[in-house]
């Protein structure tokens, strides 16, 4: 089997002529915590729904555990090994917490009663309460319990911390890391909270307008990307052409701020060759990488 738990190749999908995915190439390494980032409408939920077998792509391939997600028979086998948290965190309104746990448990032979008990206690979920009477935060926690207790090899989480208070976010993120660290679980999650992703993800993918624009190990990306700040001498103009690798330039008076994705040393050398220039280089945050790419795409 491939080293990638999820692998899509040139995935395309349109809705009423509007393209949602335009040749998406996504690779999620086994055992990773993969943060899937993108603006609203970038194609994150469409990707997740395709992986879950809820949508049929117009073209390309989508493989999960080496099986096609687009065929019902293999999709059932895939879903047997997946824990899923939906974007809106809705569950059956006529069931109580206890009933939905009992209901879900029946579909998963590898159900982890120990984890169920642990999360019931940790998240303080009231067993007898009806689902509509739970707060959104409580519902998020319940969905997480239902996803993790399945003994799943892959957790697909669509905005798992949406609606949670800061303390609950901490709890959830810690448990996700714990879940990934304790076994063979791969976590694939979408989020708008870049600092959360930066805190727990070891791989990221940024999708924009249905295409993957940046992907890789987070540490590699942060090492690869640097911000170079050049303060130019009086009467000196910045060069019209920079060395290849400059992603974005911002000019404010005598200060030129450059985001570089490669050839950082060569760019620094070029900047230093300018008369009277002082050059500094800084590490960048995930937020900077994200914003620069989606704005320039």
């Amino acid at each position: 089997m491939s080293d990638f738990i999820i692998e899509t190749h040139q995935l395309t999908k349109s809705f009423k002529g509007q393209p949602a995915l335009r040749g998406l190439d996504l690779r999620v390494p086994a055992g990773s915590i993969f943060g899937f980032l993108g603006r609203n409408g970038a194609g994150k939920t469409t990707t997740i729904k395709t992986l879950m077998g809820l949508l049929q792509p117009d073209g390309g391939t989508a493989m999960v555990f080496g099986m096609p997600a687009t065929h019902e028979a293999s999709s059932i086998k895939i879903r047997q090994r997946i824990g899923f948290v939906t974007e809106d965190k809705e569950l059956y309104p006529y069931m109580t917490v206890e009933q939905i746990i009992r209901f879900t448990r029946a579909f998963y032979p590898k159900w982890r009663v120990d984890l169920e008990r642990r999360y019931l206690q940790l998240f303080e979920l009231p067993l007898k309460r009806k689902i509509p009477d739970l707060s959104k935060g409580m519902r998020s926690k319940l969905m997480l319990l239902l996803a993790i207790s399945r003994g799943a090899e892959l957790l697909i989480l669509d905005e798992p911390t949406d609606g949670l208070d800061p303390a609950a976010i901490e709890d959830v993120l810690r448990e996700l890391v714990r879940s990934a660290a304790s076994g063979d679980t791969t976590i694939f999650f979408s989020s708008h909270q870049l600092h959360e992703v930066e805190g727990i993800a070891d791989h990221i993918g940024i999708i924009d307008r249905g295409k993957m624009i940046v992907t890789g190990a987070l540490d590699d990306l942060k090492a690869q990307y640097q911000r170079i700040q050049v303060v130019l001498g009086d009467w000196v103009s910045p060069p019209e052409h920079w060395v290849d690798g400059v992603e974005h330039i911002r000019q404010e008076g005598r200060v030129t701020s450059i985001l570089a994705s490669r050839n950082v040393d060569a760019i620094v050398q070029q900047a230093q060759s300018l008369p009277g220039a002082t050059v500094e280089r800084f590490p960048v945050t995930l937020k900077e990488i994200f914003l620069e790419h989606v704005r320039s795409n």
Binding site: K49, M52, G53, L54, L55, Q56, E72, I76, K77, R79, Q80, I82, F84, T86, D88, K89, E90, L91, Y92, P93, Y94, M95, Q99, R102, F103, T104, A106, F107, Y108
Partner: protein, 228 residues
């Protein structure tokens, strides 16, 4: 696994069944109040009307989460939860359709008991064989109507499901006026009913089961291909 799907279907339909039973109770009480003056044909027409409502109310395709009280526009978010379970869509459909059909059978059974009690109180004596025959005809012919409701549920928004299904029933009723008597289910349940002394309408019953199978197959094909 399927026990839990039955459990889910029951949770979704139990209040609908309760409404249906109240409706049956109400219609039976009405017939009792009319008492001896009520002609047998009137009882048959009432039973047919109740059957249409039962078939429309209790039907469901097992994919969408159906609310007990108020229907809202669009899919309930928990539909995605159902679809994320490692279960074939056909099993979801078959389980929900079976549970609804059993409830329909139960409702019809109660209604027939009401009719029987009514007959003892003055509508006029009904032969047990005629009563049983009428019950069988109602169930057989109601099965087509029920599975029409199942089919409609696969693509109609929950908000419009009941109205859409009733419109479909009205269309079937209109079409029946152009249908040969031998396969006319409305006639079989009404003026050609064994309750009114006619022979069993085997042709209409067989035709109804055939059409119910077609409806189930069509419902399966819709949900198999449908995107959510």
């Amino acid at each position: 696994m399927w026990q839990m799907l039955i459990y889910k279907s029951w949770m979704e339909t139990r209040l609908k069944l309760l409404y249906a039973l109240l409706l049956i109770g109400g219609s039976s009480a009405l017939m009792f109040s009319v008492g001896a003056k009520a002609p047998r044909s009137q009882a048959v027409v009432t039973a047919q009307f109740v059957l249409l409502l039962l078939a429309g109310t209790l039907s469901g395709s097992g994919i969408k989460t159906q609310p007990a009280f108020t229907a809202t526009k669009g899919l309930h978010g928990s539909t995605y939860y159902t679809l994320s379970l490692p279960v074939a869509r056909l099993l979801l459909l078959a389980t929900r359709a079976t549970v609804g059909w059993l409830e329909l059978t139960f409702g019809l059974g109660l209604q027939m008991c009401g009719l029987w009690a009514l007959s003892r109180s003055g509508v006029g004596s009904i032969e047990p064989s005629g009563m049983l025959g009428h019950a069988a005809v109602m169930l057989a012919c109601g099965t087509w109507l029920y599975f029409t409701g199942v089919f409609m549920d696969t693509f109609l928004d929950e908000q419009w499901r009941n109205q859409g299904t009733l419109v479909m029933f009205a269309l079937l009723l209109w079409l029946s006026s152009h249908t040969p008597d031998a396969i006319n289910i409305f006639k079989a349940m009404n003026e050609a009913s064994p309750l009114l002394g006619h022979a069993m309408p085997w042709g209409a019953m067989a035709f109804s089961f055939g059409m119910a199978s077609v409806m189930f197959f069509a419902a399966w094909k819709v949900i198999e291909r449908r995107e959510y």
